[in-house]
Amino acid sequence: MLILAVDTAGERVGVAVGRGPVVIGAVTLDGRRRHAEQLVPAVRYLFRELGLKPGRLAAVAVGTGPGLFTGLRVGITTATAMASALRIPVVGIPSLDLVAYPLRHTTRTIAAVLDARRHEVFWALYEPVPGGIQRVSEYEVGSPDTLGADLTARPGDHLVAGSGALAYADLFEPLDHVELAGPSHAGPDATALVELAAARLEREEFSRPSEVRPLYLRRSDAEINWGRAAS
């Protein structure tokens, strides 16, 4: 069962191909916000090197954010267009889960944090459980200070990972019971997406392409301003 996994919610373009949960190829590029230029060529490169044709795919998995809006739309549109054309299911998994999952062997609470720009971060908290992770918070967007205060108030030790953790390292590093994961955990991991998607497919938890929606967490500025003017 071949799975194509793509995530472009962060700065990176991440693509992986799995035979079931086993990753047989992966490409990670520092996208520099050139997701639309790089994503399909990266997929094509992997397929060519692996000697595969798109028609052999059983499913497409995609990181649904939260993340940078433009990247998110490129990833979701590409994944759902391919899945629609091939009439195969899509598995959408929040990109923050893909930051936390590779750290599941820790004993600490994992804070997956992605840079949201405008001095804000997207985050969610996870506890390691046998075989994976369990999310213990909502998906949030807010100031890194709010997250810092949140972590300080919580009992136990915390591992903070992702581009948002690195961008605000000065803020998180001095906190007690908080450790920063390194730059290799900066972005959502497409190989984690293969593993998580394979498990979902096994349980037949997938969507039709039209049901996969980006997790924006923010309304558009116009709606925010309009809401303000109206209230």
């Binding site: 639309a36 798109p54 433009t70 979701i76 549109t77 759902t80 629609s84 054309a85 500025d221 709606e223």
Partner: protein, 332 residues
């Protein structure tokens, strides 16, 4: 050859299948106008979000209506500019994904050039040169098409697009959004000679200017708060149409054009359509006033142009991006 085209440059999500560059097998347009109406204009982030939700269903519908599967098309095209960056990326991403999946060439095309080609969908035997006026909420340009792919840009707006002027005046008159159809409707009952609004830049080259005209309407309404709305709308519309038609006719004259052609959303305006027909007849030239669905943003024009571009230049590489400020290619 069949081309699947996708258009997402502004607030319409569209897909179409066109055969041999002029036979429209299907053309589906999902308008987002209701989503933007309360803001009085197109909101880029809302447009981009809507395109993500609409692009796959619209493509699927275009294929079904054409009685074709993806494997039955020979190329997949998308508009790659000009337009809203986030909106363009959705159509381009979908087109590249489909092209890769079906192992077909991808063709990225210029939205403005596609508007020029819409007239060939109705009149495939149109002879060069032709003078084309493309007017919408986003663009106002006057072009002489000398041959396939050879464009002489005669003039463009120095400030507001023609459609923007309609939107702004509609707001001043309390007619709602979008302004073009609203002004057109109300103006039908008004006297176009009631108010002598200025004809900006008439007789002054081929460029256009509409922001002064909007200001003139504003001042008129301040001076006469109880002015008849239909008369003001009709007089404003007449001023815009006078300028557009005079310059189109003059460009046709200068270029020795065989035909006067209009495109773009404002080309849906009934008064403009009528006046272009009259001007062409007076000058002994053909008029091409395509059906409204080919004037407003659509994907049939994208697929039609892509057919030509593919034959002339070959496919667009899959690592090409979008260009929100793409200009019309100049005559070599």
């Amino acid at each position: 050859m069949r081309v699947l085209g996708i258009e997402t440059s502004c607030d319409e999500t569209a897909a179409a299948v066109v055969e041999d560059g002029h036979k429209v097998l299907s053309s589906v347009v999902a308008s987002q106008v209701d989503l933007h109406a309360r803001f009085g204009g197109v909101v880029p982030e809302i447009a981009s979000r809507a395109h993500v939700e609409l692009v796959n269903p619209v493509v699927a519908e275009a294929l079904v209506e054409a009685g074709a599967a993806l494997d039955d098309v020979d190329a997949v095209a998308a508009c790659h500019g000009p337009g809203l960056a986030g909106a363009l990326l959705v159509g381009v991403s979908a087109a590249k994904a489909l092209a890769f999946t079906a192992d077909r060439p991808y063709v990225g095309v210029n939205h403005l050039e596609a508007h020029l080609y819409a007239s060939w969908l109705e009149e495939p035997d149109l002879r060069f040169p032709v003078a084309v006026l493309v007017v919408s909420g986003g663009h106002t340009l006057l072009v002489v098409v000398e041959d396939h792919g050879r464009y002489r840009l005669m003039g463009e707006t120095v400030d507001d697009a023609a459609g923007e002027a309609f939107d702004k005046v509609a707001r001043l008159l309390g007619l709602g959004y979008p302004g073009g159809p609203a002004v057109d409707r109300v103006a039908a009952a008004g006297d176009p000679a009631a108010v002598a609004f200025p004809r900006p830049m008439l007789g002054d080259g081929f460029d256009f200017s509409f922001s002064g005209l909007k200001t003139a309407v504003l001042y008129h309404l301040r001076r006469e708060p109880s002015a008849n709305v239909a008369d003001v709308a009709a007089s404003f519309q007449e001023a815009v149409v006078d300028v557009l038609v005079a310059k189109l006719a003059a460009a046709a004259e200068e270029a020795g054009a065989t035909a006067l052609v209009v495109g773009g959303g404002v080309a849906a305006n009934s008064r403009l359509r009528q006046r272009v027909l009259e001007a062409a007849e007076a000058a002994g030239r053909r008029a091409v006033v395509p059906q409204v669905s080919l004037c407003t943003d659509n994907a049939a024009m994208i697929a039609a142009l892509a057919h030509r571009r593919l034959l002339a230049d070959g496919p667009t590489p899959l690592d090409a991006g979008v260009d929100p400020n793409l200009r019309l290619p100049r005559a070599p």
